[in-house]
Symmetry: C2
Subunit: 341 residues, 2 copies
DNA sequence: CGTTTTTCCGTAAACGTTTACGAGAACACA
DNA sequence: TGTGTTCTCGTAAACGTTTACGGAAAAACG
C-alpha cells in the first residue's frame, strides 16, 4: 500500500538517490532513467511521504490559518471566512501547499495556540485575522522570526509583513457621504469594542467625512459594543438617547447591526423609514434582513487568493527570481444599496 | 531557536533516549532525571518537532476535514460548518490532534484531493461531509483501509465506519405533521438534486407522514433543484403550477428556501400569509429573513465534538481499553417555530 | 557473600526523504 | 595517448524522533 522511494529503487534496480533526483526533476539524471522512474512511480502508485520530506527539508508545506471565532452567537459563526478560505486554499494548493485551519475556542486570545503551531513547526507560515490595533501575535511572530501575513492591518509598528486589508476608512467616509447627500446631519456610528483595528479605521473615515461636510462630531452619537448581536442590541439604545437624536446609524459589523435593529424595533423605530441604517461589512444576513440592509461588500474569495499570493511572495522558497517581497494592499468595499437607508 | 532533543541531552549530559523516555512519561526513567528533563525542556523552550515524530511513529497527529463548498452563491458559503468545526477542533485538540481543513474548489468532487491526502499520509484519518446516497469516497477509503468518519450517512453498503447524521426523516415527518395540524393538505417538498443522502431521508419522512395522515402523495408537489438559491428560485414555480396548488412548501435547504421565497414574492405570494413555508436545516438566514422562517435546527457545535469523539473511539491509538468501537448516531433536529407557516 | 531481580540508562537502528560529494564512464580535444 | 570536461549515478549522511535491546549498577533475597 505505502510504497516508498526504496520500493521504486529496488523495482528499477537503481539507487534511491537517483530515484529522488528523477522525481524532483534535477538536471543530473539521464532522460531515460527519469522516464523509467516516473513510469514506475505511476505503476507502484507512489507518492512521497510528507513527514519524510518535511523532516529532511525543514518545511511542512502547509500554511496555518488562525481562525478565531468571536464570542457571542455560538449557533452560527463567521460566514465571512468560508469564501475567503476557498480563495486562500485554491491559491495555496497551486503551489503545493496545504491549508491547516487552526480553530481556537471562541474568545480565547489564541496566543497559546499560535505558540504551539510555531514551536512544533507544524506550518511554514501562519495567517492572522482580526488584527488588533496593538497585536501581540504580530509582536511574537516577528520576534521569533516566523513568517506570517495578516488579513487586516495593525498599528504594531515598524514591522514588515504582508497584509491585506479592507478600506474601512473610505467605507466609513462613503457611508457618511451617502447619508449626508440624502439629507442626514445627525449620524451615529457603532463599532466593536476590543481594539480591533478596523473599528478605528472606520471611525477615522467617519469623523473626517463629517468634518468635510462641516458637521460637528457628536461624541454622544458614537458608541462601542461587543462584536455580536447582543452587543449591538445593548449599545444601540445609548445613541438613540442622545440629546440630538440621530436620524441615521452606521454599524461597523453585521451582527451588531442585526442586534441594533432588534433594539430599534422594540423602540418602535423602523429602519429604512424612521431611521437610516448602513452597515460596513456586508454578509448574506444583510441581504435577507427586512428591510434589506444597505451595506459595503468585500470581495472575499479574490481576497483569499491574493493574500495567499502575497504570503508566497514573501517566502524565499516561493518568491520569484527577484527575491521575496513584502506586499501590503488595501482593497475597496463595494456599496450595495438596499432598503434600509 | 529550535531546540531539539539533542540539545536537551547535551545540556543535561544524558542520552537522547533517556530524554525522550522522560518526555513521553515512560516508566523506566528515574523520577529525579525525569524532573530534570522536564525542567530543562521548559528552560530551553523545547517542543517536539512534529515531522520527526510523525516520521518515526507513522502518524501525523492530525485529522483532515474535507470541506466541500457547493457550487452556487460564491459570495458567501456554508455558515453551517463553522460551529461544527469549532466543536470538532475543540475535541481533537484535547487529544493532541490538529484539524486540517482541506477545502476543495466548489463543485469539484474531491475524489482527487482525497487521494492526495491519503497517499501522502498527511492525516491519520479523514472526515467527510455531504455524504451521497452512493458515495465513491467511502468506497475508496474502505478499499484502501484508511480510517474515516462521516457527517451524514450513506447507503454505500456493508461498511463499518463511524457516522453522525441528523434525523432528516423525522424532521420531514414532523414538518408535515405540523402543517397538517394547521390545516394544510397540499404540501409541497423541495429538495436538492444530486444524490445527497439527506434529500432522500427527508423525502421518506415526508411521504410516510402524508400517508399516515391519509393524504395521497402528489408527484407534482415534489421537486428537485440545485442546492443553492438559484436552484430554489428556479424550481419553486414548478410546484406552484401544479393542478392542485400547494398551500405549504417544505424546503430541504435554507438557500433553496430563500430562492424559493424570492420566486414566490415575484408571483405575489406571501410566505406566512398566502402560503406556509418550512425549512429543514436552520441557519441564521432563516431567523433574519422576513418573514422569519420556521425551521429545524441542528446542534452544530455538540455534533462536531461528538463526531470527533466517535472518530477517536474508532482509532486503535485513541480508543479506550476495550478497544476500538464503531459508533453511529442520528441526532434530532429541533423545531424553531417562527412566522413563515 | 553469592545469586537473582529490579531499576535505570546508553546505544543504535529505524521512519522516508533530500542532497553534498565523489567516482566511473564517455566524450572531446590536442 | 594524455588530459580535461561532461554526464550520470551511487554512497552516505542528515533531519528529529521513538524504541528494542542489552548492560551496568543497585537492590533484594537466600
Amino acid at each position: 500500500m505505502a510504497s516508498s522511494i526504496h520500493d521504486l529503487a529496488r523495482h528499477l534496480n537503481i539507487s534511491i538517490g537517483t530515484v529522488s533526483r528523477a522525481l524532483n526533476g534535477r538536471a543530473d539524471v539521464n532522460a531515460d532513467t527519469r522516464q523509467r522512474v516516473l513510469d514506475a512511480a505511476k505503476e507502484l502508485n507512489y507518492s512521497p511521504n510528507q513527514s519524510g520530506r518535511s523532516l529532511r527539508q525543514g518545511a511542512t508545506h502547509s500554511i496555518a490559518f488562525m481562525l478565531q471565532p468571536h464570542p457571542g452567537d455560538q449557533q452560527y459563526g463567521e460566514p465571512f471566512f468560508i469564501p475567503f478560505l476557498i480563495g486562500l486554499q485554491g491559491r495555496l494548493a497551486e503551489s503545493g501547499l496545504d491549508l491547516t485551519v487552526v480553530m481556537g475556542a471562541p474568545g480565547d486570545y489564541q496566543q497559546e495556540r499560535l505558540r504551539r503551531v510555531v514551536e512544533t513547526r507544524r506550518a511554514d507560515a501562519v495567517l492572522l485575522a482580526w488584527t488588533r490595533r496593538e497585536d501581540e501575535r504580530i509582536d511574537y511572530l516577528t520576534e521569533v522570526g516566523f513568517p506570517f501575513a495578516t488579513l487586516g492591518r495593525s498599528r504594531t509598528g515598524g514591522k514588515a509583513y504582508p497584509s491585506l486589508d479592507l478600506d474601512f476608512e473610505k467605507a466609513g467616509a462613503d457611508a457618511v457621504d451617502r447619508l449626508v447627500a440624502r439629507g442626514h446631519r445627525r449620524i451615529a456610528a457603532i463599532r466593536p469594542s476590543l481594539n480591533l483595528n478596523f473599528g478605528y479605521l472606520f471611525l477615522d473615515g467617519y469623523r473626517k467625512a463629517l468634518k468635510r461636510h462641516g458637521i460637528e462630531v457628536d461624541p454622544a452619537l458614537i458608541a462601542d459594543g461587543f462584536i455580536n448581536e447582543a452587543g449591538g442590541y445593548q449599545v444601540t439604545p445609548r445613541v438613540m438617547l442622545a440629546k440630538n437624536k440621530p436620524t441615521a446609524i452606521i454599524f461597523n459589523n453585521d451582527a451588531m447591526a442585526l442586534g441594533g435593529c432588534k433594539a430599534l424595533a422594540e423602540m418602535g423605530i423602523r429602519p429604512g423609514q424612521d431611521i437610516a441604517v448602513t452597515v460596513i461589512v456586508d454578509t448574506p444576513l444583510c441581504r435577507y434582513f427586512s428591510p434589506a440592509l444597505t451595506a459595503f461588500r468585500p470581495a472575499l474569495e479574490p481576497m483569499g487568493r491574493r493574500l495567499a499570493e502575497m504570503l508566497l511572495a514573501s517566502l524565499p522558497a516561493f518568491a520569484g527570481p527577484e527575491g521575496p517581497r513584502i506586499i501590503r494592499e488595501v482593497w475597496p468595499l463595494e456599496l450595495i444599496a438596499r432598503d434600509s437607508d
